[in-house]
Symmetry: C2
């Protein structure tokens, strides 16, 4: 049973790569981006692993799902591996993203620098509040929710971020999917159903605090 961790965790059966591996690709990408910023040209699975608390074997195994990226006697070329990982994650292209719901969370997300840095461009935000619409925040235009079908199509938006209260989340998801969005990131504390062919990732911020709690408790 030692290999059961590596059994595919199917996220809607669209991939045979374990979810945990895809998650670590993002961590490798961040670390490589830091290394490049620090002026490093190359790195190794040992160095990369050490920065993330992983063995070098784990790093090599994760990357081997997608190809052969090392160079004998050199290791990994940082800019090249960044490009490869972005290609795998699909962030070598720019994604056009909509955010629905401009409460505090939605408003914070519209201005989140980390999104644009990684290839996610928030090109539209939607709300029902008439005092919020027809303005811009952080250069992102805000539209009334009634215009969602039209704007999603015109702006060729493929990803939607749901930042509305739980009670409205499913309605918003349905509207986004009908308009042509292919992936949803859900911050509402509720489970959302989507038709086959649409991906959904739920964000549960309490999980991060639970991981922190575990660390603190098991440190003593």
């Amino acid at each position: 049973m030692t290999d059961s961790e590596e059994k595919p965790i199917e996220f809607g059966a669209e991939s045979s790569v374990p979810k945990a591996v895809v998650n670590r690709l993002s961590l490798y990408l961040r670390e490589l981006q830091h290394l490049i910023r620090d002026g490093r040209e190359t790195t190794s699975s040992t160095f990369l692993g050490a920065r993330l608390g992983l063995t070098d074997a784990q790093v090599r195994k994760d990357l081997a799902y997608f190809g052969q990226f090392g160079h004998p006697g050199i290791g990994y070329r940082c800019p090249e591996l960044v490009q490869e990982i972005r290609r795998i994650l699909g962030t070598h292209r720019q994604w056009r993203v909509a955010i629905v719901g401009l409460g505090n969370l939605g408003t914070a997300l519209v201005g989140h620098r980390g999104f644009s840095e990684q290839g996610f461009r928030v090109v539209a935000a939607f709300d029902t509040d008439l005092t919020k619409v027809d303005r811009k925040i952080h250069e992102t235009p805000i539209y009334h929710i009634d215009r969602l079908p039209q704007i999603v199509q015109e702006e060729e938006i493929k990803l939607g971020i749901i930042a509305v209260p739980a009670a409205s989340a499913q309605i918003v998801a349905d509207a986004l999917v009908s308009a042509g969005v292919e992936g949803l990131l859900n911050f509402a504390p509720v489970t959302i159903s989507v038709p086959e062919g649409v991906s959904i990732v739920g964000v549960d911020l309490a999980i991060e605090l639970e991981q922190l709690s575990f660390n603190v408790v098991n440190r003593q």
Copy 2:
């Protein structure tokens, strides 16, 4: 190398349990909480695994790190397993939490229902903006940052959430640690150093979008 996933990912050497396992504990906990809400008394590793796209062997192996929780002929008793997982994560007790930085993100986090539901009580918020302090949001009092050392001690705050801009994040972390906080959740897009004996978890929201992007791209 098939077992390399299960090699301990040391989060500051405080534990020999792989980080991915601790993360899944949170997912099991949520699923069990849903099952209880739906009126279910018992469940199985097969059922629990199926809901999360994991094998039954994986579920059993993960839980076996911490003890023996199943009952022959019954499976898992949902309320009992919830209690056990909360004990392992350290959320059977209530954590007193402070949030520093009341921009849109910090303000959204103060009111985040998901935190209190899982045992995290935000008892204080801090900001430098004099127009924000000495008020309450969602019953949480807001203090000027100068009062942080005093309030953290008086309120016995053990966890801190950093929601300030990158440039102030390290200063805020130092202040929280000096005041006695043992764990930090960092939303600022910057790496923070903490002394040994203090845990830190960084939140990178772009990772969630990257996972979504991967799902969408690999679906076709």
